[in-house]
Amino acid sequence: MCIIKVCNVTYSYDGTRTVLRNISAEFEAGNMYAILGPSGCGKTTLLSLLGGLDSPTQGQVIFQGEDIMKQGLAYHRKRHVSFIFQSYNLIDYMTPAENVALTSSLPPLPVLESLGLTKEEAKRNVKKLSGGQQQRVAIARSLACDAKVILADEPTGNLDEDTASSIITILKSCAHEKKKCVIVVTHSNDLAKQADVILRLKKGELKPI
């Protein structure tokens, strides 16, 4: 069942440089999607539009049958989607537990522990954690808010192979076990192979592989 879709979306920077051209795509809950494409082809822009970080020049982003502009982008970001960034984007003066608590009023420890962080690590400053641990905190923050769509931008880009593999496993389980729609933008063919659906973005057009 389609949970989020883009309809005839066009996006251009400053009204001149068009990176997405009349794109339409549907994304379902319980699936992990991988969007592949060369640098600068608009993968991250598409993710931003899906997540309400920006609005399309033309076209619509529809979440559960409703244009996300209707209730506002901030509302969409708060209720419907969560982000995982390549550079983790954690607030550096907070602990992992506090970072997770930013998006949820539920106790953060069970989520962090389920992703392999210890109680002690959950109370450390995030700057004292390894890259893999920081990315797990970012995933925990995504999961804690109970958003139905997880948008991940190069989530393994800064991680070693083993850690990247464990992160992919977590994202897959988010899609399959927690029935979330996970959309991952990546350069990595290994990560893309783990996805249920692979889409390629080239010359402003999105095509399934």
């Binding site: 991250t44 970080l53 970001r77 607030i91 550096d92 930013l102």
Partner: protein
């Protein structure tokens, strides 16, 4: 997590920034409070000076065109004033005017007397026109205390009392003249007036100092200030009753120099003064001399307060701008998880507000100390101007101080954060990656 909790976490975790902000705000607040205390001290002193000195209105004879055609006598041509004099009726009407607190007439050189039973301090020439030697000049007055020399503080009464309006046959002489003739308060002296051709007795009611010795190149005795004294007007009128029918000058004292114009207008409108050849002028000379340094100080303090406020807002805005630029990623993260602009601005405002309240509170005891020091400093400066000076941090201006301070902080937070918060989260986050 609420913005309040985030703000508390930020203040505690970013201790260095919090401490810098605390110090900057405490210093600005202490400077401002001290300046406000000095300003209030200056205002109080000005008010004290206003009450102590008051304002003056001068009523004089309008001699222009009223000096007659001239009369020939043994000395040449003498001109006599032919216009109106300041009669007792006019004086009585003026003293009833609202705002008038006192009056005095000071007729310098109204009486020339030669010492019958005493001698003047000698001058270069002995020009004895009378059988009793040279004459010196006396100022006829209703109240010697209000005469210009005493008002300006040049002369000081060292013994006895001043001449008062109800006195008759009284005089005030200088300490030097008294010492020269071994005279003291209560003694009777006799003077011969060439104009009145009569010897008159005067009781010395007071002795004053400040005539600064007998040095100089005085040619005649009346050029030596120590030889010149004061007599009461009643004796003058008694001696010259056929020639003098009023005062030739009247100084009217007004309670509040600030409202002197209103009193002037009321006096000018008196029917007793209508069509009279008299001139009415406002004289704030004494008040201006004393109060102008205080007014200059108040202006300086006002400029300082404005300067500190502007510099404070500028420094705070600059500091917050630099720090908020460093918090762009945090703002981007908060926007990406759905926090709205207001929520983020409230967090930054709460952080600054918490430090501000602590700083302002800490600045109160600090400003008490600095205000005390400032008070001592200005007291030493103001002593010469005969003005009391007390600097104190008033509890009454703490509430507006907090309110205005918080308003300025809000403006600083808004000015420094607005450009970052208004960016699209995508622009913030993607540029970082």
């Amino acid at each position: 997590m609420s913005f309040l909790k985030r703000a508390v976490l930020y203040c505690f975790r970013q201790r260095l920034k919090t401490a810098i902000l605390f110090l900057v705000l405490t210093l600005i607040a202490a400077f401002l409070l001290t300046s406000l205390a000095i300003r209030d001290g200056v205002r109080k002193s000005t008010a004290q000076v206003q009450t102590a000195i008051g304002g003056k209105i001068e009523l004089n004879l309008d001699t222009e065109g009223h000096m007659g055609g001239g009369e020939q006598n043994q000395w040449g041509t003498a001109y006599y004033y032919t216009g109106d004099l300041i009669t007792q009726d006019i004086v009585d009407a003026i003293k009833k005017v609202d705002g008038v607190v006192d009056y005095n007439s000071e007729g310098t050189g109204s009486y020339y007397g030669a010492g019958v039973d005493f001698k003047y301090l000698p001058a270069a020439f002995d020009l004895s026109y009378t059988p009793y030697g040279e004459s010196s000049s006396y100022t006829a007055t209703l109240s010697s205390e209000k005469c210009a020399h005493f008002q300006r503080g040049e002369y000081k009464l060292v013994d006895g009392r001043h001449i008062q309006p109800e006195d008759s046959h009284t005089c005030l002489i200088s300490k030097e003249l008294a010492d020269y003739n071994h005279l003291s308060v209560g003694d009777q002296i006799q003077m011969y007036s060439l104009d009145a051709e009569d010897i008159t007795s005067f009781e010395i009611v007071g002795i004053f100092d400040g005539t600064k010795g007998t040095e100089g190149n005085a040619l005649t005795v009346d050029e030596i200030p120590a030889n010149c004294g004061y007599i009461d007007y009643a004796t003058l009128f008694e001696l010259f009753q056929d020639k003098i029918d009023g005062y030739d000058q009247l100084t009217i004292f007004v309670e509040d120099p600030v409202n002197i114009q209103n009193v002037y207008d009321r006096i000018a409108a008196l029917p007793e003064l209508k069509d009279k050849t008299l001139k009415l002028d406002i004289n704030t000379e004494t008040y201006d001399v004393v109060s102008s340094p205080l007014e200059s100080l108040e202006k300086l303090i006002h400029t300082t307060i404005l300067f500190i406020s502007l510099v404070g807002v500028a420094v705070l805005t600059l500091l917050l701008t630099i720090w908020i630029r460093g918090r762009k990623r945090e703002i981007g993260i908060l926007l990406s998880i759905g926090k709205n602009k207001a929520n983020i601005l409230f967090q930054i405002f709460t952080e600054t507000l918490a430090v501000t309240i602590l700083s302002f509170t800490s600045s109160i005891p600090l400003s008490y100390l600095t205000a005390e020091k400032a008070g001592t400093f200005f007291l030493s400066k103001a002593a010469a101007a005969n003005a009391g000076f007390h600097v104190e941090v008033q509890a009454s201006y703490l509430a507006p101080f907090y309110l205005i301070g918080i308003l300025l902080i809000a403006i600083s937070v808004l000015a420094s954060s607005w450009t970052v918060v208004c960016q699209k989260p995508n622009d913030i986050l993607m540029k970082m990656d």
